[in-house]
Amino acid sequence: MAHETEHTSHHPSFNQYVLIAIVLFAITIVEFVLIWDTARIVDHLGPSKIPLLVALSAVKFAIVIMYYMHLKFDNRLLGAVFIAGLALAFLVGMALIALFVGFEGNPRDYAEARALPYAEHAEETVGGESTETNHETDTPPVAAGPVAIAVSAAGETLAFDISSISADSGSEVTLTLDNPSANNAHNLVIVTAGTKDAVAADGTAAGPANDWVSPGDSRVIAHTALAGPGASANVTFEAPSPGTYQFVCTFPGHNFTMFGDFIVK
């Protein structure tokens, strides 16, 4: 009780509260002018505007909790409880940001590069591949004349139903992509060996208007349009010189699991 009475008398007066409000307003105006392009200050500041803006808002934050919320005049335990929460909150935020920005901003790449196959999954994959291998040997689409090859997305899974396709060099290949998924869009892009991720990254930058393929990309041999859910797309091209190429879906993120080899004999 004694505390309360004693401290209450230290509360700012009406005029002081008005002053505090004016200071808060003034800081907000300064912040606005800092980023207002008409004021031209932002051009000079460059990236240094960020620490400046953060500092100004921290000052406002402190003024409100100290004066409006009376932490300056109140029992220190109340402040300690709040500051503890605030500090934890700050750490959680920083940890989250560090986690995602730390791996060169791409935790998914980081994880893909270091992924260890889970035993059960590995078995499934092996089983799946063996049937696909049969499939390949059963119907090797190797012919001198025009060849039709069908590739399908594996349902809702971000994978193709086949891991390898082949054709003879110089033959006219018609590649059909079937997309049975109810949600995902896919495309099928033939690229030179080892370039699938780089092509997909450039495709992401090129955007959906270009079917997620960078126009004029020299690594791209051929590509279908984007096949929406339930749709198909095809492309006809002449099989290039013998060698191993890759086929990949360049819809953002799909390239890590949706790809296979295109072998030209």
Binding site: H3, I20, F25, F90, V92, G93
Partner: protein
């Protein structure tokens, strides 16, 4: 001015309700920090538009920020009037705070609607998802505060708010100011700093 309110004995010498409010506010910091950090992690990661630079209107939001700052001032006056046993001023300042809060929410409704019409949706891209989640939860906090303020104003009209029960107003004030400081952070990060982001380009340092 003195708090003549009867206080129960506590080992800390502090009122339990007030301590509880501060604990709640401390934990609410964690809630908002998670949402803010999520926004920062996804910043610049949207693959399709609209991007912040296409739709964020900093001047308009600066005005609504002023409105919210003004409401905090009104809240302080409401508590001062309560402590001074000035019933009429208490009710008026409480209503003024609620009104200013409602204007802020009005700005937000118009903003959300404009953004929706320009193609920003919760499920459209990462910017929309993280933006609406964060500012939406803040708006919900403000709305709850408005209801609390109106309830207090009604109690005031019934003559149940005075210097003996000033803690009721003080707790609402703490909550209200907290919502204000959360907005100070959101305004700086989402509008002043990240409001001019363009395109799906990863921004180092989040």
């Amino acid at each position: 001015m003195a708090h003549a309110v009867e206080q129960e004995y506590t080992t800390t010498g502090l009122n339990h309700r007030k301590l509880l409010m501060w604990v709640f506010l401390g934990s609410d910091c964690l809630f908002f920090a998670s949402l803010i950090a999520t926004y920062m992690v996804y910043r610049g990661q949207s693959l399709v538009g609209p991007y912040p630079n296409d739709i964020i209107d900093v001047p308009v939001t600066t005005i609504s920020t002023f409105v919210l700052l003004m409401s905090s001032f009104a809240m302080v006056q409401a508590l001062a009037a309560t402590n001074a046993d000035n019933r009429k001023a208490t009710i008026n300042w409480l209503l003024a705070t609620a009104l200013l809060g409602s204007i802020f929410i009005g700005f937000q409704i118009v903003e959300f609607n404009t953004f929706k019409n320009e193609g920003l949706t919760l499920g459209g891209n990462l910017f929309g998802a993280s933006f609406f989640t964060l500012t939406g939860f803040h708006g919900a906090h403000v709305t709850l505060g408005i209801i609390w303020l109106l309830a207090l104003a009604i109690l005031g009209m019934k003559g149940r708010i005075n210097s003996k029960t000033a803690l009721d107003v003080e707790l609402c004030g703490l909550y209200w100011h907290f919502v204000d400081i959360v907005w100070i952070v959101i305004f700086t990060l989402l509008y002043l700093i990240a409001g001019f982001d363009v395109g799906p380009v990863a921004i180092p340092g989040g």
